[in-house]
Amino acid sequence: MDMIDHTGADPAGDMGTVVSRNSGEGVNVDGGDPHRPRVTRPAFVRYSLAFFTSALALLLTLLYTRLIGTTAPFILFFAAVVVSSWYGGLGPGLLAIAIAALVTDYFFLPPTQSLHMTQSSFLELLLFLLAALLIAWLTAALRSAYRRAEAAQIREKLARAEAERAQRRFAFLFEASALLAGSLDWRTTLTSMADLTVPEMADWCLVDVTEPDGAIRRVATAKLSASRSNQVHARDHRYFPDLDAPFGVSRVMRTGEPEIYPEIPEPVLVDLAHGAEDLAVMRQIDPKSAMIVPLVARNRTLGTITFISAESGRHYGPGDLALAEVLTRRAALAVDNTRLYRELAESKQQLQNLVGRLLVAQEEERRRVSYEVHDELAQVANAAQLHLETYAHDYPPGSSEAREDLERAVELARRTVRDARRVVNNLRPTTLDDFGLAAALRLHVEELRAEGWQIGYQEGLGEDRLPPLVETALFRVAQESLTNVRKHAQTTQANVTLERRRDTIHLEVQDWGRGFDPAGVREGGAGERVGLPGMRERIAWLGGHCIIESEPGGGTRVTVEVPLEGAIANEL
């Protein structure tokens, strides 16, 4: 009996837990209660059963001995023993045997109406006792085995239900994760999140976030489509939290601790609502149970998700809260990530814009200075030179010394004009503005050739002028690359290729100089090569890329590709 009790009690306990979880999670095992086996009966009932079956057996035996005489007084008592030990266990079986022995001795064994017995009666009774004991023991053992089997069956059923639930939960979380990972906009993330929880976890799902000014804003709601109420504070409902609220969204926001309400009695509902309007809405929803879980990421409470059970009538338990917390934590991380991503993208964009403005401003400034030098300084120097020469013509110097002085002055003025021309060319070659990239580069290459460089130039841009920003950027990169050749490569052998491939402009500057280790000149590396990151930034701003290949002793190759489309988009 102990063993039966024990084995039977465990599944029953499990069952109880499962059933309450079922109501929470909407996972149906098999409806629960009706088939729940009763494995323990009170001792009083069990022993009474033995007594009554024995009494019944006595009555029937008395009856049939009156009708047909005494032949087998023990038969019906065997039945009583079997029934007692099946339904009551070994103890009641033994009681039934004892009663049977007493009453048969008294009523049926000679001498009847007496507990005295003859030797044969005694023998007969002894045989009955032995047989009955055997039957009682066997019956009890059979019963015990039967119950163990029954318990095992229940356990198996429960285990299967548990596995199914775990699978569903996993699938749910998987879906939630995929959804959360997919979105890069936090509002979308939270809206999808709310939609996902209905009806799987809740009949209503409300998402609130804290705003920078401390207010709470509802950013997403989801509800059962067949919901009784249509009135829930829609998106963008906004209110300031009650700092003294004993519980509810305000408190969860403040403390970062989740709350669970297995039941929601009226006073709790009143406290949960913020204001009369909200209370009216809440009454319409008629919540049965609720959970408020904080959206916490990096120790910051971003908001809350409120899960409400209404129509479904389920009551949330610790298991539901655990799932809700897992889900909410993921949502918070996803929201945090989208915010970080957006901030990163924004600052990247700002940086890009800044680089762009800087480059444009720099170019503008160069152009301005260049034209200033061209239009003023050079003209004045030129005029001075001509005036000096005219003066010399009008008043020829008397001495060779005076003539030399004058000639030196003329030469200085001429040199100023030449220097001005060189400055203008370096700052912002007018060729670039007037004739475009191909001509400006050709001129640059020709100047280097005039200095004795062995430099090739292949150009295939076609007739059309490129967007000014692209022309400037590519010219600067080529200029910078050739300056690097002059400064570092210790060679005057180089090649420049410029061509258009569909909608991409391709520039390549190669030299056969001493090369360098590109790893050694990353940003912040040798100050001498500050030009390289600058080149990359210039090109990246236009949506292109700039590859610098080099190795010590192997020359250097700068390859640039710029899409025309991106450049047009950047045109200010």
Binding site: A378, Q379, V380, A384, Q385, H387, T431
Partner: protein, 230 residues
Amino acid sequence: MNSETRPRAGAFRPARVVIVDDHDLARAGLRGVLAREEGLEVVGEAANGQEAIALCGKLRPDLVLMDVRMPEMDGLAATQAIKQECPATSVIIVTMYENPDYLIQALKAGAAGYVLKGATRHEITTAVRQVIGGESPLKPELAAQLLRRIASTASPRQGPPVEPLTPREYEVLRLLAEGKTNSEIAFSLSISLSTVKFHIENIISKLGASDRTQAAVRAIELGLLTSPTQ
């Protein structure tokens, strides 16, 4: 074609020159140089392209010294307009840059040649005298290179009817377009220098050009050099 009745400047009368530059100092510098030259007379000055066109229409000078970068209208556009109205007026571009791209543009606009900003008094007066005297102010190699590039890019178009050239004039024109100097032409054709000068005067006149350089440019544009049957 050449509606000018006035004889070409030379021994009989001084060449009339107009200076165009937006910079007062630059104009004054050039005026100082040219005004003292024998046989040259600075008849007017303009500060931009628009003024230059108006002035040239009125004065019909033999030569214009033209700055390139000017407000209102730049030197090249002004040159083009002046050549339209006064084909006999030669234009010398005064430029900061010896860049062939600029020079080709200048030649196409109608310039006879250029002087560099920063050129000496001597260089300036030489260029002016060469243009007036029917010689090229351009170095022969540079002239040849520029004319080749003009020939390679310009599609020969049907120009206004020209007075037919004699075979001898064609020979001279061909050598002229190759950038040859007068003495080289005289040597190649085994004729005297004065005969060459005479032919060149005729060619310039027949092509309705103002100077030697523009005669070559015009010949290229008319396709005279590409079709040997002419």
